[in-house]
Symmetry: C3
Subunit: 422 residues, 3 copies
């Protein structure tokens, strides 16, 4: 029997568990607070639907750490004519450094050649600030000075009759002449045809979170088109072949100046992909910025030196040093992909709902602390367990008292009733 009553108790518990419990509400006929609440509710729903979901697509899981591989290939030929080397033809193998098609590379557009340098003693370049001397005592032996080209032998070399000269150094001689880079002479060595060099950029990307891969070279049948097209922001936004002149033009800088003194250009490839749509809509956008200029300041250009080493018949090493000015291209890939995911959706909906709940707090606070009838609302909203209890007994009193007298005073009676029965 005990077991039976236990069973039935469990069953009734389970059943009562399936009763739907819902909060009891009071309707405060305050149109002002009601309107405020509706406004809060609607603006949060509007924010959720309009801004969070439609505009920002926050129902999507986002991936911003992209895997990317870039291959580049240049085409174009230039010719230069210098006193040192005569007429020279420049093919990609000569003007692209390094030649193997990386994402960061340098295109020679101007150069200063210092041929036949050998290790030995010669005068320091007059362009080195600390290289000047008036006597041997200014040239401490074995020292190298900042921005200098070698180590001092201890002698001061002065041209006939001059009072000052430069220290003798042990270095690759002759020293590259800085002056040469300042006068008109250098213009001779510019690769004028650089404007028409073309850069073919192959970019393969992968969003690891979504296992989605793509390349900027389209899977179209029109292979022939790809070989002919040139990138144009409006007409050919997906053509992966770029004219160097166009790239510089799009950065808003002067090609002439850049060719002469060099510069650094970033090509940003942006992949913004909504993977809930058709994957063919995931296409890159290209953007060109000059990145060696900070704010409005003038750039000092971009250059570096490299050398080609030779040996003569007697086994002596000599070299040709090139100071090359040019355009450094830095291809940067940035990707962002989104795909529907339940977690951010729930988070956004949940927190939006919770904020509507927060609106209830605000409205309650206005109702209970700012409204004229606040005390009235307060009494209605909050039911004091004890208070109500008392009132109940008042009512009960009336029932009882309405017929006869009782021995207990009503108050006493209330106390026992409440504290026991309830």
């Amino acid at each position: 029997m005990a077991s039976n009553s236990c069973k039935s108790k469990i069953i009734s518990n389970v059943l009562s568990c399936l009763n739907y419990k819902t909060g009891k509400f009071i309707i405060a006929e305050s149109k002002r607070v009601g309107t405020l609440y509706r406004v809060i509710q609607l603006s949060i729903i509007g924010y959720l639907v309009g801004y969070v979901f439609l505009s920002k697509k926050s129902y999507q899981a986002k991936e911003e750490s992209i895997q990317s591989a870039v291959i580049t290939k240049l085409k174009g030929v230039a010719v230069t004519n210098t006193a040192e080397s005569g007429q020279m033809v420049w093919e990609p193998v000569d003007y692209v450094i390094p030649p193997q098609g990386e994402a960061v590379f340098f295109i020679v557009t101007n150069f200063i050649e210092t041929p036949n340098q050998k290790l030995g003693n010669c005068a320091e370049s007059p362009d080195v600030p600390d290289g000047h001397c008036k006597g041997d005592k200014d040239c401490a032996k074995g020292e190298s000075v900042k921005a200098g080209h070698g180590f001092r032998t201890g002698r001061c070399l002065r041209d006939n009759g001059k009072s000052s000269g430069t220290c003798e150094i042990y270095s690759w001689c002759p020293i590259e002449s800085y002056h040469q880079s300042q006068d008109g002479h250098k213009r001779m060595s510019i690769l004028r045809e650089a404007e028409n060099f073309t850069i073919f950029i192959k970019n393969f990307i992968r969003f690891p979170k979504f296992s989605f891969s793509k390349a900027n070279v389209q899977d179209t049948a029109d292979k022939y088109h790809l070989k002919k097209c040139h990138y144009d922001e409006l007409l050919e936004p997906y053509c992966p072949i770029f004219r160097l002149g166009d790239i510089v033009y799009q950065t808003g800088h002067s090609f002439q100046d850049m060719v002469l003194r060099g510069g650094s250009i970033g090509i940003l490839i942006k992949w913004k992909c909504d993977l809930d749509r058709d994957h063919s809509e995931c296409k890159p956008r290209y953007n060109f910025t000059r990145i060696d200029i900070n704010g409005s300041r003038e750039s000092t250009g971009f250059n570096f030196r490299h050398a080609r080493y030779y040996k003569n018949e007697s086994g002596e090493v000599y070299r040709t040093q090139f100071k090359v000015y040019g355009i450094r291209i830095n291809i940067m890939v940035h990707g962002k992909a989104g795909k529907f995911c339940i977690i951010p959706t729930v988070i956004n909906i949940g927190s939006g709902l919770a904020c509507i709940g927060g609106g209830t707090w605000l409205c309650d606070w206005i109702l209970l602390y700012l409204m004229k009838k606040r005390e009235f609302y307060k009494d209605w909203k909050f039911e004091n367990v004890k208070k109500k209890d008392r009132n109940l007994s008042d009512i009960t009193e009336q029932y009882n008292g309405s017929k006869e007298d009782t021995k207990q005073t009503p108050e006493e009676q209330l106390v026992t009733d409440v504290s026991t029965v309830l």
Copy 2:
């Protein structure tokens, strides 16, 4: 005295602040809505615990921007035998470009050598589409054509008796013969031993958010093992030494074809680390993809040119140009670390709870708008302040008036009572 009453007022306010206020609920004995609510509640809790926390580990703060440094070192020797250079031995210093152990490098597997090129005039290669001519008028002086190797001198060079030839150009002569790369001749210069070249990859990573660093080379005592092992997906998944043949095999492409025409392979190193567990469990996984193939299309291979410059006794520059085909390895590192963090935990729990609250809305809506007894529930759920106020006094009136006659009929009275008191 005012002060006293003020104090006691404050105290009572503080005390009333510590009263626990909790919503009043009505129990609607609708098993259908109650069951629906329990289902919603349980599925959200299940989603939170099972999917969000156990499966997706959303209680963790995630870090996906990894800092990574890669050092590579190749080993292996190959020998080739070409008409131009005879027997040649290829060591890493010869076949790895650049040689300094970067994350992106190129392994020469095939090459076309064009030795002893000098600047001068010669016939354009017949492989250049626009290089053909029937007379001097087809060769405008000083022009360079697309994909051409130099600038036209203005002459059309024709072999004896032939009606067409190619324009003479000023370039590095002789021109590299394209034909050579199409016939069987080139197979002669393949580095057949490339299959056995080994790549040692050292990868150091850091998750800046968690200040966690690790390297793919294990801190084991078994240093000797590391020198002998070869990566194998099943047997040696953590050995950082890779056979080139294995890498190509894992991409699913033909090694023979790749060696001949070149290709680009991405080695993805994936670090997926749960930093709540022991740090030794944070180990990399390797993945190999061919990245120059887009979809099902054939790749055109990968090659570039580089040159070695020489000077003869008279100081004239000449060069050997290599068109190298080979495998470009692009090591990409992707990392993802997670560690317990209170903020995402609270966000997920909070929004889950809020969604349960949203479930209450739905059930209320069903209860109040779809159920048969909707009007009945509505009256119970919502207490109209004004009405009740009025009615309360009505009831009191009735109490008082119960001794006398009331104008309302009992039925009418009931209606007002029900719709208001409850």
Copy 3:
């Protein structure tokens, strides 16, 4: 008329929609549960305000995928004196590999020169483990052994009278001597002045999400200062010129050892930008780590080989191979920017509020299941619709019946009333 009543119905519906509905609460005068609830409430608000918003700035949208371009330029001269090449001057063009100013580069600090290597037959280096032989049978023809330098000719070369030697190989001869790198001899070729080499690092960054760009070279008028300063953690934390000696010192490793055997150093540039503040406060911090050492283990150093190719008068190729030891610098840029955004703010506030709601659940549960007076509270909190319904009619009955006698005793009556009506 129907239309009129329809209109008025709509109007009354709209008006009732603007009534403010707020939950009815009961005040349970349990100070313990009330205090618990206040503690939960205050700790969640404190967590939200203090930790989430003030400390973690979670009101900001975060961007961690930074776009970065790095340009480096080295300065300094060193001199070495070796038996092979005599006195040599090392300028950046000689010791920086590659020379074009990349983010990852190598500085030669020590080297082994093997001049005048020609293709031909010679004895394998005794340092190659598998190179030793006692007779020709140990040297299978055409084979290349692991870590060997070429292909075996089939002969075993033994010095006069010795019982063992090394296999003859076809390779670039003479073979680089490993022994040379172990004895004191090699110290001769160290670039001692490397400690004073300076590295100028130009770092351009961009946070694509916020379209915010900056460079580590300040836009200050003090251009002259930039040319003179040296980075110092305390005194000059924003100077972008670094002494190589300082860099190694900051990693906590010995410069002498690193110069001798080589090593790999990561320069971490950290941009942590609060874009709600003035943009000039967004400045990089530099950090230096040795990245080729894993845990406490000794590093094996860092080196690679490169070669310079020459041709003699008869057109024969020969080369000088350099095994270079040195410091590989890996500049890694890590950025994190935050800017106020409504979505994460709402998410955090919303989920915090929802967690306070969760606190209500907990307190309710304690109140209704753990407190002594739980049954009492339960009856107050939950109003059973059916029951109450029934009782209401009871009450009404009583009203009506109050004129007559009732069968229930007052006590019984009270019980039912209290347990149900309230």
